[in-house]
């Protein structure tokens, strides 16, 4: 169906285009720029355009394409970088050079590349198949086996399943009898991004997502299948948090969506990840990672799409029984893209220019997280982690506010901490996790019965420190008792020895659960034994002069996750030092 362009106004255009459906893709003008119908008014359609509209003129042809924005799902996704409408950027760079040309047409996946397909031995011809069932597998990368699924909306009797062998995406590998038709199936299928992929049932999230970052795993855990938001002013460390999770988390697949952020941050990933070894599979990280990029200088409408492209790919790997993490940096840019389109449509803004449907769109997006039983009865999960970029660092703005109500894990980044180079700058007073009790079950099994107690004691110490510092700032440190001063010193041990964790420190960038537990134990041990000594009238200054105080704070960078024996030995050393002191002072006390 063809029509013609009537008006061009920035990223929105109007066309005379009969019978177009909302959400339908259109091709515009000679270059065939792609857009999406977002409104109808009689014969007129309003279209948001994924590319720059400069040089378009009224009268140019507009063709309705008959399908909504969809992605190609199949082997070849991993290791790739796509733009907001799933064009492969590496391929695009090869054919079109350093800059992204308008109207470029490349298929998302390489359709000519051969993949070695192994049919599922449980399948037999004549069997009734339905959507989501597994036809066979392809080794997509050395570390990831890609299950080839019957597309969710397909069912029927299996007529033919090809033998093991090499096939490209254009070769059919199976066919089913769907009604009167024989439907050919391929190594890939397409799926509309705004429609969540179906699953059998939702299940509870049960296992923590281990990120190797102490402030998250130990203090504010996230579960596989959970949802988290990371708000923070610029420079606080949102991107580093997202990158650390992409690097170290124990997921099967990581999808990194660069939504309206810097090009160089994606280059950083593309150049460093291939050389980083995944602690889990011992293979290159890039084998389990894929990127979706709409950088801040790319067209704003495709920014809105990029989030959906990412989450649909995440669901697709979930449907293969895998644990997928998607990080989105930043959901604020996505919300701003919504705002820009709604503003140009003349819709009534409700708060700071945002449309009334901001909250429902946000929660519908996060709803796509979860742990599920897939259509083929496997367990898979999608974990969603969205960065939020509040204007002026003000958390009362709409995107932060709504996100906070939706997510269970909230990692609030603080400018004060970042300014003091306390990284990750996660505030222990403003952050929260609703998953602590579930995570504790796992931790107790992995480490020790006392884990939850230790964690809670450490948080209590930190909050008493906050109160005491308030007093100090009014009347000075002289007003504090020795016990109170020791609380401040103990809290400093936790802050410097446990919470601070530099992503740039090779030894400490990732901390195994065991290392996390031992560091926490060390700091709390020093604090608790110190409390006992104070009762014997040991001066606080003397405790602070102990060389184990400096050593304890440096333990994290001294012993890697493989060298936890060093930490255990240090625990013995601490006990010796304190035993000695205790001995001396209790003798003194007796003498008196």
């Amino acid at each position: 169906m063809a029509g013609k362009l009537i008006e061009i106004n920035g990223p929105l255009v109007r066309a005379q285009l009969e019978k177009a459906v909302n959400g339908e893709q259109v091709s515009i003008g000679q270059l065939g720029i792609i857009g999406e119908v977002i409104g109808r008014d009689g014969d007129y359609s309003t279209i948001q355009v994924y590319e720059d509209t400069e040089s378009l003129r009224p009268g140019e042809e507009v063709i309705a394409l008959g399908y909504p924005l969809s992605v190609e799902l199949g082997p070849g996704l991993l290791g790739n970088i796509f733009d907001g409408i799933q064009r492969p950027l590496e391929t695009l760079a090869k054919i079109a050079g350093d800059y992204i040309p308008k109207g470029a047409k490349v298929t998302p996946l390489d359709h000519k590349k051969l993949w070695h397909f192994k049919p599922n031995s449980e399948r037999h011809e004549g069997e009734k198949l339905s959507g989501g069932e597994i036809l066979g597998t392809v080794q997509e990368t050395e570390s990831i086996v890609h299950s080839i699924l019957v597309p969710p909306n397909t069912q029927g009797e299996l007529i033919l399943l090809k033998l093991e062998g090499d096939y490209c995406l254009d070769d059919s590998i199976a066919s089913v009898q769907q009604g009167k038709e024989e439907k050919l199936l391929y190594l890939y299928h397409r799926w509309p991004v705004r429609q969540p992929r179906p699953y059998k049932v939702r299940d509870h999230a049960i296992a923590p997502l281990i990120t190797g970052q102490r402030i998250f795993d130990t203090f504010f855990p996230l579960l596989k299948g959970g949802k988290a938001a990371v708000p923070g002013p610029f420079g606080a460390g949102k991107t580093m948090v997202q990158q650390q999770i992409a690097r170290w988390s124990n997921a099967d697949i990581v999808i990194y969506v660069g939504c309206g952020e810097r090009g160089n941050e994606l280059v950083d990933i593309l150049t460093t990840f291939p050389d980083i070894v995944d602690p889990k599979s011992k293979r290159s990280l890039m084998e389990r990672t894929l990127l979706v990029a709409n950088t801040s200088n790319m067209p704003v409408v495709a920014r809105e799409a990029s989030i959906y492209v990412g989450v649909t790919i995440a669901e697709y790997y979930r449907d293969q029984g895998l644990d997928v993490v998607m990080v989105a940096d930043s959901t604020s840019r996505w919300a701003e893209a919504l705002r820009e389109v709604s503003g140009r449509l003349g819709q009534m803004p409700v708060e700071e220019g945002y449309p009334a449907y901001l909250a429902s769109r946000l929660s519908a997006f996060y709803e796509r997280a979860g742990r599920v039983h897939t259509l083929s009865e496997q367990r898979g999960s999608v974990t969603l982690i969205g960065a939020v970029s509040p204007p002026g660092g003000d958390f009362s703005e709409p995107v932060t506010g709504h996100s906070k109500e939706i997510v269970q894990t909230f990692w609030a980044l603080s400018k004060e901490l970042a300014d003091a180079r306390h990284y990750p700058s996660v505030s222990w007073t403003e952050s929260f996790s609703g998953y602590v009790n579930t995570a504790a079950k796992w931790w107790v099994k992995q480490t020790d019965q006392e884990w939850l107690q230790l964690r809670n004691d450490a948080l209590t110490l930190l909050s008493r420190d906050t109160e005491l510092m308030r007093i100090v700032n009014l009347v000075g440190p002289e007003a504090l008792s020795p016990e109170q001063r020791w609380i401040i010193d103990g809290a400093n041990l936790i802050k410097e020895g446990v919470l601070q964790q530099s992503a740039l420190d090779d030894v400490d960038s990732y901390a195994s659960p065991e290392k996390q537990y031992l560091l926490l134990k060390i700091m709390m041990l020093i604090y608790n034994r110190g409390v006992d000594l104070l009762k014997l009238e040991v001066p606080v200054q003397e405790l602070n002069r102990l060389s184990i105080m400096g050593k304890a704070k440096r333990c994290k960078s001294t012993y890697s996750s493989e060298q936890t024996q060093g930490l255990r030995d240090f625990i013995n050393a601490i006990n010796q030092v304190f035993d000695q002191l205790e001995h001396t002072y209790s003798e003194n006390l007796h003498k008196v």
């Binding site: 009224p58 009268g59 610029f234 309206g260 160089n264 280059v267 220019g353 002026g392 660092g393 300014d419």
Partner: protein, 463 residues
Amino acid sequence: MSELEYRYASAVKGGLLFMSHVPNIAFGDRVIISDHKNQLRNGQVVMSSNELIMIQVIEGTEDLDLERTWVRFLEKPFEIALSPDVLGRVFNGIGQPKDGRPPLISTLKRNVNGAPVNPAARSYPKEFIQTGISAIDGLNSLVRGQKLPIFTGSGLTHNRLLAQIVRQAKLLGEESGFAIVFAAMGLSYSDTQYYIENFENNGVLGNVVMFINQADDPPLERLILPRAALTVAEYLAFDKDMHVLVILTDMTNYSEALREISTAKGDVPARKGYPGYLYSDLASIYERAGRIKNRHGSITMMPVVSMPSDDITHPIPDLTGYITEGQIVLARELHNQGIYPPIDISPSLSRLMKDGVGRNDTRDDHIRVANQLYAAYAKALEIRNLASIIGAEDLSDIDQHFLDFADQFEKRFIQQKENEERSIFETLNIAWDLLSILPANLLSRVTEEELAKYHRWKERSEV
């Protein structure tokens, strides 16, 4: 190419000219407007339909007489001619000569808007640039291809700081400097002169391209100006293999021009009247800095952003900080104490420092020393604050050391002379001098080996 000429202007409003019934005009195209005095003005199509065309008039719509206004459609976007002869030239915001010399002649013309760089074609900037300024090199290092703005306030010394950077910036062990693209938007006459004299005195004028729009020049010209300047920068860097330093001053004036026109167009405002697309618009400028794979040249960008009322959360510095790779922030408090450069360390940041310094680039301890200075200074500021409430006498010995540290840090590390060029090694040595004011047990950001090698606390306490 046919150029269409019409006389159907139907309305004017705040910099916008409306025309009815001019068919098939391309969005974004350039137009020339001839007013009733036969004076030419420049414009750009910002909305197009067959019924109505909206044109943004660069020189403004002041006293346009609709009945006697002619509009010529050039059937092409804003372009700029490019050739190696561009070096040493001075232009206005839309690329017309301002130096009394003839326009640049070249068959190579490019759309000033450029096109987005494919992220997969970028290469990561990581070559350390020594500016000779401790607060930058030591704590917020600049690398080739970085976009690092200076956040400033009225009356602060950003011009002098930038001039010093332009004079001193070089790669370690290399003498070759930069080609400079200088983009001035709404700059005062005296500030413009200050830069020109500086370039002259350094003998680099032949290596500078200037785009100048002064305070009394048309505001809307500022919307095209940085784009024209960056088109030239891209040409020099990626066609001609040069290392280019782009100075954009002042992006606050740019943003105000954008607000002016967006208000006239009736766009929905987000914060403080600025349009919701200010972020994307600024990004389309800032993201043109960087490096590209298999190209020798680079674009390093230092925009100047005035913080209205010294407020860093104002939308212009705020959105800039969300896009650029860090920021150098100047503080009035330091300036008032006579400290030059008045760089406020706490909110300053270089995001690309982590990959540009260290063993192979500067010195092994660099990043840890920087973090340690940051941590110690943050703590020292807390104590200084406390001292102002309860009096310094009541502080502990350790706290007294921190106070001393803060003072010396500001006077010996941050403060330096305008012609003082410190090598990165001098900078790091000063850093260790200062850290030696504090006991080792409190310095957990550096390693024990580094403490053993550089820290001299004992010697000091004996003195």
